[in-house]
């Protein structure tokens, strides 16, 4: 036990260091600017939360984007009604997402397997459709919810005069754009990581793993698994709401497209790419996907022509045409391919891949872990 504890604190230390120093060590990759770093941290939180549900219990939710959206809306409303301070916004986001997760989870968790996936998908689509149509007074429909000049902001108006133009989000006077915004998200990310670490090591986490490996057997022992499942679902919904509210903190607007089911698919991909059920995997996956999204979608045909300029003209044009499919607006094509490749060849994600590579270099008698990988079991 003691060994695990010290290992965990080491892991947490390394993780915190890596996150806080991101502006330094990501600089050579061209990713060290605040907007992108904020995204890394926010989607990291989203994926870590999703992993608590999917990784531990094996329940694949296709509706987590709904919680992200609700978190965003709640945060923007807090900016509009109360104050530009980010703390209440974040709390509201988490609270309302948790509430929604409680309601959806209560119903969806009565079923498992693919029915659970379809139920969550149905609920998320319902929320999305409602946000676009009837709930327009709350969500502002297609335009998206934005700050306006005549928002009341009751708390703010009590003790200070409204300045010119739209106010920006702040934490007790510290403006939440650029690096301060990133560090705010990063600290929350580290806290979230710590909580997920504690959940993974707790008896509660063990219970959830039990559900994943055999829920029937858990029930036969006389244990009612539903409260545990519901807690896991609500926790992961709250993580999503937190991520949504942080999106609103760094950029105070919210749109219904955040709730679309393709957005739910994205977080699934992040988790899988990194490694389902691992601690750092989801963070890795989220970072990689957001990084490549940023790099790939910035490419255009001019840059491609420059890259392939060393080739003869004819070949250059062909190369530009072929690669042009995958970059720029074609980024989603790359994402889809990546999705398939990861699921087909590396169901355990990057973390498993790294372990396999590591096993190549260590002596044979330590190879046990690689033998029981899910891929090999599937082949048998």
């Amino acid at each position: 036990m003691k060994k695990i504890a010290s290992k965990d604190s080491k892991l947490l230390l390394i993780f915190s260091g890596a996150v806080l120093l991101m502006p330094l060590w990501l600089a050579p990759f061209g990713a060290a600017y605040p907007d992108l770093l904020q995204k890394f941290a926010i989607y990291g939180i989203f994926a870590i939360g999703f992993n608590i549900l999917f990784g531990l219990t094996g329940y694949l939710s296709f509706g987590h984007a709904a919680f992200l959206g609700v978190g965003s809306y709640a945060a923007v409303w807090s900016f509009k009604l109360f104050t530009m301070n980010v703390l209440p916004a974040v709390l509201f986001g988490v609270f309302f997402a948790g509430l929604l997760a409680l309601a959806i989870g209560f119903v969806s968790l009565r079923r498992s397997g693919i029915y659970f996936s379809i139920l969550t998908l149905a609920f998320a689509q319902m929320s999305y459709n409602l946000a676009y149509s009837v709930l327009t007074p709350i969500t502002n429909g297609e335009t998206g919810l934005q700050l306006t000049l005549n928002d009341p902001r009751w708390l703010d108006s009590l003790y200070k005069v409204a300045g010119e133009g739209l106010p920006s989000t702040e934490l007790f006077g510290l403006k939440m754009s650029g690096y301060p915004g990133f560090y705010f998200c990063a600290i929350i990310l580290i806290v979230c990581f710590f909580i997920s670490l504690r959940i993974f090591r707790s008896p509660f986490g063990l219970m959830l793993r039990g559900v994943k490996s055999n829920q029937n057997r858990m029930n036969y022992t006389g244990l009612n698994t539903r409260p545990y499942m519901l807690s896991a679902f609500v926790i992961s919904g709250m993580y999503a709401g937190l991520a949504g509210s942080l999106l609103a903190v760094t950029d105070p607007l919210a749109g219904a497209e955040r709730m679309q089911w393709t957005a739910s698919g994205e977080v699934v991909l992040m988790t899988i790419l990194g490694g389902v059920g691992t601690l750092v995997g989801p963070m890795l996956g989220a970072g990689l996907i957001k990084y490549f999204e940023n790099i790939f979608s910035s490419f255009n045909s001019n840059i491609l022509h420059e890259i392939f300029s060393f080739l003869p003209d004819g070949i250059e044009n062909v190369m530009v045409k072929v690669t042009g499919l995958f970059v720029g607006s074609g980024w989603h094509l790359t994402l889809g391919l990546l999705f398939m490749i990861v699921v087909i060849f590396l169901p355990g994600g990057i973390v498993e891949g790294a372990q396999k590579v590591k096993n190549l270099f260590v002596s044979n008698d330590q190879k046990g872990s690689a033998e029981s990988s899910p891929e090999k079991q599937a082949v048998e």
């Binding site: 079923r111 693919i114 998908l121 149509s133 009837v134 393709t262 889809g336 398939m340």
Partner: protein, 338 residues
Amino acid sequence: MDAIIIQILNGVDKGAAYALIALGLTLVFGTLGIVNFAHGALFMLGAFCAVTFNKIMTLSVKIKDESVTLFDAYKEEPYLKIWFGETGEALIDYAVPLSILFAIPIMILVGYVMERGLIRHFYRRPHADQILVTFGLAIVLQELIKASFGANPIPQAAPAILAGSANVGSWIGLGDTLVYPWWRLIYLGFSGLIIFSVFAFLQFTTYGMVVRAGMRDRETVGLLGINIERRFTIVFALAAVVAGVAGVMYTPILPPDYHMGMDFLVLSFVVVVVGGMGSLGGAVAAGFLLGIVQSFASMNEVKQILPGVDQIIIYLVAVVILLTRPRGLMGRAGVMEE
């Protein structure tokens, strides 16, 4: 009375599309045990077969316009018209129905390649993996179509003779106010025909009998010396064809764009679940039922009482069904109830 009949027609029409897609989904699930999230993309591919065929038919050449004498004017003239005159024009007019002939071999090929190349490796993997890999495939197909046809819907015209509306009211003695577009009626009949032929194929042919036996107990059928996997591949191709031709025929109703498959897929899954996973009759019945329910929910009178109900009614029905009757309307007891 008129309004109700119109709503029922609308609903049956939409329901026909759901039913056709759900039928394919159920076939694939019942035979291969695969949850295919790329099935909507097959519907979309079918629709784009029609678009491609139309493009081929109307390949044009620029020729001098003789009717303008003041200056040199040019107009686009399709080759078919130049070569065959009026017959050519008629061919172009009937591009959408004709493209079914074009779509069938393509969809068979797509289905076959998809099953042999990808799906086969996922028989024994968990459902979550199947969902994910087919979801990825759907994104890829959708983006490929977007890259080659653009993001805007491409309207397709029904044959001119079917462009107007049928006077349904006078057929059943209800006055002339009740009219309904011809093409939608054709679509309805066509869907009925497809559904009927799929059922007839499964019910009355030896091949279909073996497939049904395989759906019940794949192992025993295998032990009897029948190569059941091979037959299931054919079934997958058949499901792809059903989705494809449904897409072709739907193009004059809804101009196809690259994400139409996804839109229909989510609903079709709901349809399958409501009908009962693995029950073909259930899929068809639930498709029509949900189509009608949806079209009634979008009546103005209903919307006034319950605003927004048209947007969520299908999901709502699905939630209620899943919670009260887990196996779906017509599902067999014990099949995928968990």
